[in-house]
């Protein structure tokens, strides 16, 4: 019992000194998109190194959470991997950090070279259920869709003009890596993921293939040039005018000083 009491006492003592443990130079809280979070974390570390005493805390949870937390003040900056919707722009301001393209992927062994928009729609609504109807082998199609709240889903729905309730999916997934793994493990699967992540997977021998969209090949180069139809901005969003520290961070995150970090996460620095 005595040891437990000692442990409890130490714990209470630790609790008591909590308020003293604030960062001297100020603290920024960033929450939101799990796609942007690893990049924001790396930019935050470089920002901390250049501004001693400043702390940048990054939390994930999806773009919807980034919008909500920025809106109600839980976060200084929200991370949102899509363009803001018209009703959101009334209260929030977006600062584009980088660009990302979303590409359709199929298994590397799938002979299908490209799909037009009508075929994509037919596959995702369940009208086409076999690859033979899309010029492939006699193999049932496994439709992989993203979970609600993911900005890749919203981008895909916007492009195809479908509603999520119309989509007949065999698998619903969350993150990009999960999508890549699902498609790589299933010769009949089709999914859509971030181009940077898919390019990296292909370079490292993962058996998937990126399909062109509307005739434009799915590459990071096509995203940078703005030709790729299914691309999205990765945004830092703030409510009203950001605090001086947040404004400094945003300026830093959009400067050439973080270009290498953006490219290391397989995103595309915005043209400027």
């Amino acid at each position: 019992m005595k040891r437990f009491l000692i442990f409890l006492a130490t714990l209470l003592a630790a609790l008591a000194i909590l308020p003293g443990a604030q960062a001297a130079g100020g603290k920024l809280v960033l929450t939101g998109s799990s796609t942007v979070a690893p990049l924001a974390l790396e930019i935050g570390k470089r920002f901390e190194a250049m501004n001693p005493g400043v702390r940048v805390d990054v939390q994930t949870g999806g773009s919807s959470r980034g919008v909500a937390d920025a809106m109600n003040g839980l976060a200084d900056i929200g991370l949102v991997s899509r363009a803001l919707k018209p009703e959101e722009t009334k209260t929030l301001t977006a600062h584009t950090l980088a660009l990302d393209g979303v590409a359709l992927i199929v298994h590397a062994g799938n002979p299908v070279r490209q799909l037009d928009d009508a075929q994509i729609k037919a596959i995702y609504t369940g009208q086409t259920r076999n690859w033979r109807a899309a010029g492939g082998a006699d193999l049932p199609i496994t439709v992989v869709n993203k979970a609600e709240g993911r900005s890749t889903l919203e981008l895909f729905l916007h492009y195809t003009g479908l509603k999520n309730s119309q989509i007949r999916a065999q698998a619903v997934i969350g993150d990009n890596q999960q999508g890549i793994k699902t498609v790589a493990g299933n010769p009949g699967a089709i999914g859509y993921v971030s181009i940077g992540a898919a390019e990296y997977a292909v370079e490292h021998g993962v058996p998937i293939k990126l399909l062109p969209m509307a005739g434009v090949p799915a590459t990071t180069g096509a995203v940078r040039s703005g030709r790729f139809p299914l691309s999205r901005p990765l945004n830092l969003v703030t409510r009203g005018a950001p605090s001086p520290l947040a404004a400094r961070f945003i300026a830093f995150a959009r400067s050439p000083a973080v270009r290498d970090l953006i490219e290391a996460q397989y995103f595309v620095p915005p043209p400027r």
Partner: protein
């Protein structure tokens, strides 16, 4: 001569045992094959870089230990108290005791994401602890309490009544009998309860991502957000392109950590409590 049915039965049992071991061996071989190459002292002693693809896991390991420390430090005394109360102060089959046990069993089977949402709403937002090691640890404490209480209570129930009668005959007070006789006799159950709790807590991702959070900096106090190993592994394998190798290496560290903590919990509870029995 064995009859063939009996032989088949024996073979089936043997097959089940081999199967269980094989699944573990396969699982372990898989992460070892991928992760062993990048596992080194440096990996354990340096901070992650490039979203976890490079560098190590030092801050994450420290955060994990702190979160586990808070969880066990809170759950163990509260859980012991509750188990003793259930065992000695409620009559067997009484309505109140039955309801509490039912509630505990339901809580023990609750998916961890439910605890995560509760922890985020209660500790992080309502109590204002924010994303911190403290709110993560307290959430885990709430999560492992039911299973710990039920295991310890079962252990206390298994202590023979003769021990209690003997203690009473010697004129020991209720608390003295507990501290010197009953708890030491139930030491293996307490160790087992701790093991189950720590094992469940260390493997936790869903309950921690919204409470202790995602920050992979070295924590300076319990009020800092700190990424747990399981959250790190999840992020590397699901969200970071090319994070698989370090995810596997981190998984190896987590397996080793859980094994170590389990052994320590058993050894500690045995030593601490049996010594008391001998005095």
């Amino acid at each position: 001569m064995h009859n063939p049915g009996d032989r088949l039965f024996g073979l089936a049992l043997w097959g089940a045992a081999v199967g269980v071991t094989a699944v573990f061996a396969w699982l372990f071989a898989d992460i070892a094959r991928l992760g062993l190459g990048s596992l080194s002292l440096d990996f354990i002693a340096t901070a992650p870089e490039n979203a976890g693809r490079d560098g190590g896991i030092a801050p994450i390991l420290v955060s994990t230990l702190l979160i586990l420390g808070v969880a066990v430090g809170v759950a163990a005394p509260v859980g012991l108290g509750a188990a003793v109360w259930l065992n000695t102060y409620t009559r067997a089959g009484s309505r109140g005791g039955r309801r509490i046990r039912l509630a505990l069993d339901m809580l023990a089977g609750m998916p961890s994401i439910v605890f995560g949402l509760f922890g985020n709403a209660f500790f992080s937002v309502f109590l204002g602890l924010g994303f911190s090691i403290l709110s993560g640890g307290l959430t885990l404490a709430a999560m492992i309490l039911p299973i710990f209480i039920r295991t310890v209570e079962a252990g206390l129930g298994a202590v023979e009544d003769g021990w209690r009668l003997g203690a009473a005959a010697l004129g020991l007070t209720r608390s003295a009998a507990l501290a010197h006789v009953i708890l030491p006799a139930a030491a293996p159950a307490i160790g087992a309860g701790l093991m189950l709790g720590i094992g469940r807590a260390a493997a936790e991702t869903a309950a921690l991502i919204f409470t202790s959070g995602y920050v992979d900096r070295m924590p300076e106090s319990l009020a800092d957000s700190g990424r747990a190993l399981a959250v790190h592994i999840y992020d590397l394998s699901m969200n970071v392109a090319g994070g698989d190798v370090h995810a596997a290496a981190s998984a190896l560290v987590l397996v080793a950590l859980v094994a170590c903590v389990n052994l320590m919990a058993v050894a500690l509870s045995r030593r601490w409590l049996t010594r008391r029995l001998a005095v």
